[in-house]
């Protein structure tokens, strides 16, 4: 689980929109950290109480498309449920991903959301192991 959602997740610049990036010792950890970065696009993750849990399941073998689907599933859940998430658990196995996202309903006064994420794009979409052994997962999101 991502215990400090902002620590290993980061944002990177893009001309029109914004990039999200996560790093971790495993692909799953990188996916969790990137999910934290997704929240950072909208608000400070530390403001989001991990009260409720949403289960997410996506299938696929290609790590990049799995990441794309993971981020898009989070975007869809935030949109449909009017929620923000601050903690994540990801397990990648058997041709798919099982994830849990912990968060709460949007409170505009407390969360002061800056912008809505429309979806993950395939721009800068990468899942790879870096020379130091750390896994990286990233993409640009459309806002």
């Amino acid at each position: 689980m991502s215990e400090d959602p902002g620590a290993r997740g980061e944002l990177f610049p893009h001309g029109s929109d914004i990039g999200i990036r996560g790093r971790g010792p495993t692909p799953a950890a990188a996916f969790e950290a990137a999910a934290g970065a997704l929240t950072r696009v909208i608000t400070d993750p530390s403001l989001v109480k991990p009260r409720d849990v949403v289960e997410i399941q996506v299938s696929g073998e290609d790590p990049e498309m799995l990441f794309y689907d993971w981020i898009n599933a989070l975007v869809a859940e935030m949109s449909a449920r009017n929620m923000l998430f601050s903690r994540f658990e990801v397990e990648i196995a058997n041709g798919g991903l099982r994830g849990r996202a912990f968060g709460e309903n949007v409170d505009v006064r407390r969360h002061r959301p800056a912008v809505e994420v429309k979806g993950a794009t395939m721009t800068c979409l990468e899942v790879r192991r870096e020379p130091d052994g750390v896994w990286l997962a990233q993409c640009v999101v459309d806002v």
């Binding site: 001309g15 929109d17 975007v75 869809a76 949007v106 505009v108 959301p113 809505e116 794009t121």
Partner: protein
């Protein structure tokens, strides 16, 4: 932008000949200054689009062009189904039929400025905007399918607006050929509480004053008067449109190899127009477009209600509603012959010329109004479509970003921007100061230069310039 390979063909027209896998040339409409300021990705993406099967004439980029997803934002490309032409989800974008409409109030600036704070309060309270906002209407099941088929007509039939509004919307407020059954349950679920909501980012509701008339005759035809107050609403298809884009982009990426289509960028993923996937996407995209038209129609109703409370004498007649991210089936003259083409406009606006039969009778002689949004601190423009347009009756859509959101938040503080704009007589209402910084006027191109280049390139004529008085953002 690196200009190697690009040659000036005319004033504000630059061309890259068809080389390598390009089937047609790429053409950028821009002044020299705008061209130099464009990132290299614009050129790369314009040339990539030119490789797609069935593309006709050229891959075009409008003066506000910038780096997009597969297609450049500001990209225009037409495809012929009879020549294996394709439809691309990336060529339409996530925010299907994002667009802008302008309402004429009939009021003078002085009358509105005297109650601007009250008007700001009422509009901010009355029009749901931003993350966490929800519409007052819950639409689901058969009712949602009806909305997706009928667009703005759905809204007017339920009391959100008047019949006359429909005449002033592209396709009469209803894009034909929508197939709600091709829209996923996830997309429909996202839309349930979002009908009549503004969204966030570069979406806005803006009260503006007409400060300059460029063409008196066209301004009269459009009902625009110097010193009059107008209202612009910029938003799109919200969660439903976004999910359609997500769903079909992935499906097209997966299916591309099966169609034998090799694309230089996977975000150019596409399907032949005559394929089952292509037809399904068109059906879903048209449903998304109707969702955007319905959304802007409901917001118009909310704006009218707000004005009634503060300025009951306002008329709020719809001048026109244009959409930006679309693929429309149109007939165009190409080398002397009429051809049925599917025209993608990604961050570009349709600009029908004078005399076009799809224009309402009272606008037909003037040409189609084209509303070009600036920033919260600068001008916006009204243009008019013109005859012999070089790019399938298309024009620019806005200022276009010139700086990343990341850099904008490092450069400006939202609170200072709000204060500075207030000193200039512009009220900003937004739930997020970081959001304001991301949308800072300095993060966008010079919209006046974009409008001027559009005119010099023969895309559209300038009619009037408006400046903001009040901007409500999500």
């Amino acid at each position: 932008m690196e200009r190697s390979g690009w040659e000036r063909r005319a004033e504000a027209v630059w061309e890259h000949p068809a080389t390598g896998r390009m089937r047609v040339p790429a053409v950028i409409f821009a002044s020299e200054e705008l061209l130099d300021a464009m990132d290299d990705k614009v050129a790369e993406q314009a040339c990539n689009v030119a490789t797609l099967p069935g593309i006709v004439k050229a891959s075009f980029v409008m003066p506000d062009g910038h780096w997009g997803y597969g297609f450049p934002i500001g990209g225009v490309a037409a495809f012929d189904p009879a020549e294996g032409g394709v439809v691309s989800a990336g060529g339409v974008g996530f925010d299907i039929s994002c667009g802008v409409r302008m309402l004429l109030t009939g009021l003078d600036v002085e009358a509105v400025e005297s109650v601007l704070e009250d008007l700001a309060d009422v509009l901010q309270a009355g029009v749901p905007a931003g993350v966490g906002s929800q519409g007052a209407i819950v639409v689901k099941g058969r009712e949602l399918d009806e909305l997706l088929r009928e667009g703005a007509r759905w809204a007017v039939a339920r009391g959100y607006g008047v019949e006359r509004d429909l005449e002033r919307i592209e396709e009469g407020g209803r894009v034909p050929g929508a197939r709600p059954e091709c829209v996923s349950d996830k997309a429909k679920e996202r839309q349930r509480r979002q009908v009549g909501t503004l969204g966030s980012g570069n979406h806005y509701l803006e009260v503006q004053a007409v400060v300059e008339i460029h063409d008196e005759k066209l301004a009269r035809a459009f009902g625009l008067r110097l010193g009059e107050v107008v209202v612009s609403i910029h938003c799109g298809s919200r969660g439903l449109g976004h999910q359609i884009g997500t769903d079909y982009l992935k499906e097209m990426v997966t299916a591309a190899r099966g169609f034998g289509i090799e694309v230089p960028d996977r975000e150019l993923a596409c399907a032949p127009l005559t394929s089952e996937l292509g037809r399904r996407y068109l059906g879903a995209m048209r449903a998304g477009a109707n969702c955007a038209l319905a959304n802007r129609q409901v917001i118009t109703h909310l704006v009218r209600e707000g004005f009634r409370r503060v300025l009951p004498e306002a008329s709020l007649d719809l001048l026109y509603d244009v959409s930006h991210n679309t693929c429309k089936e149109e007939v165009h003259l190409v080398d002397g012959s009429e051809r049925r083409l599917f025209v993608h406009r990604k961050g570009a606006t349709r600009a029908f010329p004078p005399g076009h039969p799809e224009l309402p009778e009272d606008l037909r002689a003037a040409g189609q109004p084209v509303i070009v949004g600036g920033t919260m601190g600068t001008s916006s423009f009204v243009l008019a479509g013109r005859s012999e347009s070089p790019a399938f009756a298309s024009a620019c859509h806005g200022a276009g970003r010139s700086m990343s959101r990341h850099k904008a938040t490092k450069t400006w503080h939202g609170g200072k921007i709000v204060a500075e704009l207030r000193q200039r007589g512009i009220l900003i209402r937004s739930p997020s100061l970081r959001g304001v910084a991301e949308e800072a006027p300095g993060a966008y191109k010079d919209v006046e230069a974009v409008a001027e280049a559009s005119e010099r390139a023969g895309l559209a004529r300038r009619v009037a310039r408006v400046r903001p008085l009040l901007c409500v953002k999500g």
